[in-house]
């Protein structure tokens, strides 16, 4: 048999020891745990445990442990809920909308932004449970068959919110996982021991065959198409929690686009706040370049103007409507007892981002870090302004009131940051923080073209 002797001559050579540069650079982030990392992780775990303890105490004693008192029954918990849902918007925007627009620069940041989306939604969802005093009855919001034959009220914005948030959580996890699948396979082929076992299970046998890539591309395209209207709907629905009521300062048609722009604004700011230190610590400057940061700051500038326009327009409508309650509510926002939060919001969200008109500052990393952190603070205060000042100054001055967050609320608020940071820290050590296969797509393209043309 002559063919068999040929076979002997053509035995496969052992795979070369050298792995691809991209794999080595990006998988290295997952290796080794420094004392600084452990310290940070311990701090986040501690804050989560503290928040959990306070929460159990609150369940035992009741919501009075928070600053909830007549007439303000939506406090820091709802403010923080809206804040985290907003943060969750950047990931899907970057992954889905920029994917549909074929904006290639998204490759450097889409993985971490998607991860932040998932973690922020998980953080936000907890606040619904924390805010509902009787947590053991929270399943009442779901339409399930019961002995009373009673169904939920589908006309209620809170019911819409349940569907919107749970859909968003599910879809962002699916999107995140599908994007991660090829990268888990890369890690699987290089891991040992327990990690090998984990990645083998999670990679679902991914080998990067033509058939797999073809269905993968198609699935990502379809999910982007589905997630794009979804991301716009989620914060719109959150805004209708407010806008569907008749509270002065809430009852406005501008709320949906205003909230969506604010969500994108805060989400991009959070991606920058997190990725600037990560890039520096893990030396990822070759992958996340100043060009990426500059594009992000352009988005911040644009959305800052949309948000600033909404702030101004709210005041205009309050004046133009001639409704006295509206006018009073908005006057008191700026010059009433909560003036501090309003002016913080205006400074952080409208004035500070104007620095990004200058290219020198758009590429100056410390400036970007400071401004994006300010925006995070400002966006939290925006929700504080909307919720607290409006509830505290409704139609009848006899029921006006003042709300001050208690230390219990602030502990749980701090715990939410701990929870988010904890998940992100664990993610960095378990999965590639940059989408390796998408970076490779660019690398291989570039190599092929430089080989042909020059």
């Amino acid at each position: 048999m002559p063919a068999m002797s040929l076979a002997g001559a053509m035995r496969p050579a052992d795979p070369p020891g050298a792995d691809s540069q991209v794999n080595r650079d990006l998988l290295r982030v997952m290796e080794g745990i420094s004392p600084g990392y452990l310290l940070l992780l311990a701090a986040t775990v501690l804050s989560v445990v503290a928040a959990g303890g306070v929460w159990i105490w609150q369940v035992y004693l009741g919501l009075g442990v928070g600053g909830y008192a007549h007439p303000i029954f939506w406090g820091v918990y709802i403010v923080t809920f809206v804040f985290w849902v907003g943060i969750a918007h950047a990931g899907t925007l970057i992954s889905a909308i920029l994917y549909l627009f074929r904006a290639k620069w998204r490759n450097a940041i889409n993985r971490s932004a998607e991860a932040m989306t998932v973690f922020a939604v998980l953080t936000a969802a907890q606040f619904l449970g924390i805010h509902v005093g009787r947590i053991w009855k929270s399943y009442f919001i779901l339409p399930y068959p019961n002995q009373r034959g009673l169904w939920v009220n589908f006309r209620s914005p809170l019911e819409w919110d349940t569907f919107a948030i749970s859909t968003y959580a599910t879809i962002s996890i699916v999107f995140f996982f599908i994007g991660l699948l090829p990268d888990i396979a890369i890690a699987r082929d290089r891991a040992r021991g327990l990690r090998k076992l984990l990645y083998t299970a999670l990679a679902l046998g991914w080998q990067g065959t033509a058939r797999q890539w073809k269905s993968h591309s198609r699935a990502v395209l379809h999910l982007s198409g589905l997630a794009t209207p979804l991301v716009l709907s989620v914060h719109s629905v959150v805004s209708w929690d407010f806008a569907m009521s008749i509270v002065p300062g809430w009852h406005a048609t501008i709320f949906a686009p205003y909230f969506v722009a604010g969500a994108i604004f805060s989400g991009f700011a959070m991606v920058l706040t997190v990725m600037i230190p990560v890039r520096r610590i893990y030396g990822l400057e070759a992958y996340i370049t100043d060009y990426h940061f500059e594009n992000m700051t352009r988005f911040l500038l644009l959305t800052s103007w949309i948000v600033g326009y909404a702030y101004g327009f709210e005041y205009f409508v309050a004046w133009y409507s001639g409704v006295e309650a509206e006018q009073t509510a908005f006057w008191l926002r700026a010059f009433g007892p909560y003036w501090f939060s309003t002016w913080t919001m205006v400074f952080c969200n409208v004035i500070a981002p104007q620095l990004f008109w200058f290219k020198r500052l758009r590429t100056h990393v410390p400036t970007i870090f400071v401004v994006s952190t300010l925006i995070n603070i400002g966006m939290w205060f925006e929700r504080y302004v909307i919720i607290i000042t409006s509830l505290g100054r409704e139609y009848d001055p006899a029921v006006w009131g003042i709300y001050t967050p208690t230390w219990a609320e602030l502990t749980i608020f701090a715990g939410s940051f701990g929870f988010f940071a904890m998940l992100f820290l664990l993610f960095m050590k378990l999965f590639p923080v940059i989408a390796i296969s998408e970076v490779k797509e660019l690398v291989i393209h570039e190599r092929a073209h430089s080989g042909e043309a020059h």
Binding site: W160, T170, I171, G208, A227, E438, I444
Partner: protein, 170 residues
């Protein structure tokens, strides 16, 4: 049947070679790639991926479920408000919309798994040819052929810039 594995550095020659091989009647082919490349999507199969049917069915199922559930529940416990219809279609649109996305997205995931033959779908005929090189930066073209065709396929693979060709036993 023995299988030949050609190793490549770029997707273009892989796609070209696969087409030539299919033209010559070799149908048991497989391509391994480190990333998604549009030219490889049509190399083995010109038809668009069937994942799209999954998304469509999921989405339609979602929108139907959303409206049907809300409307049925309104009539199952009718609440009379000023003689208005029991079901409020405009507000139910939000539920219908969200469930379209939810069901459509989950069906897309399911479609990816079924059409892409995951999980563990490829631990079958060509699995012996897989190597960690394909999750680095190299491409693999696997051809199953009869003993007497080995030399022809080998020459064809090398003609299309394969940097090495090896034989995997059945």
């Amino acid at each position: 049947m023995p299988a030949l594995v050609g190793i490549y550095d770029a997707p273009g020659p892989v796609a070209e070679c696969a087409r030539r091989l299919r033209g010559r009647g070799f149908t048991r082919l497989e391509i391994y790639a480190p990333a998604a490349f549009p030219e490889l999507d049509t190399a083995l199969d010109e038809k668009p991926s069937k994942v799209r049917i999954w998304t469509l069915i999921g989405g339609l199922l979602g929108v139907t479920t959303g409206y049907a559930m809300t409307i049925w529940m309104s009539y199952d416990w009718p609440v009379t408000i000023g003689g208005k219809p029991f079901a409020s279609i405009p507000t139910y649109t939000i539920i219908g919309f969200e469930l379209t996305i939810l069901f459509g997205g989950l069906a897309t995931l399911l479609g990816l798994l079924v059409v892409g033959r995951l999980p563990y779908g490829r631990f079958g005929k060509n699995d012996r040819a897989y190597s960690a090189r394909f999750s680095a930066e190299e491409f693999g073209l696997v051809v199953e052929c009869r003993e007497r065709d080995v030399q022809e396929v080998d020459a064809l693979l090398r003609d299309h810039q394969a940097k090495e060709v090896s034989l995997v036993e059945p």
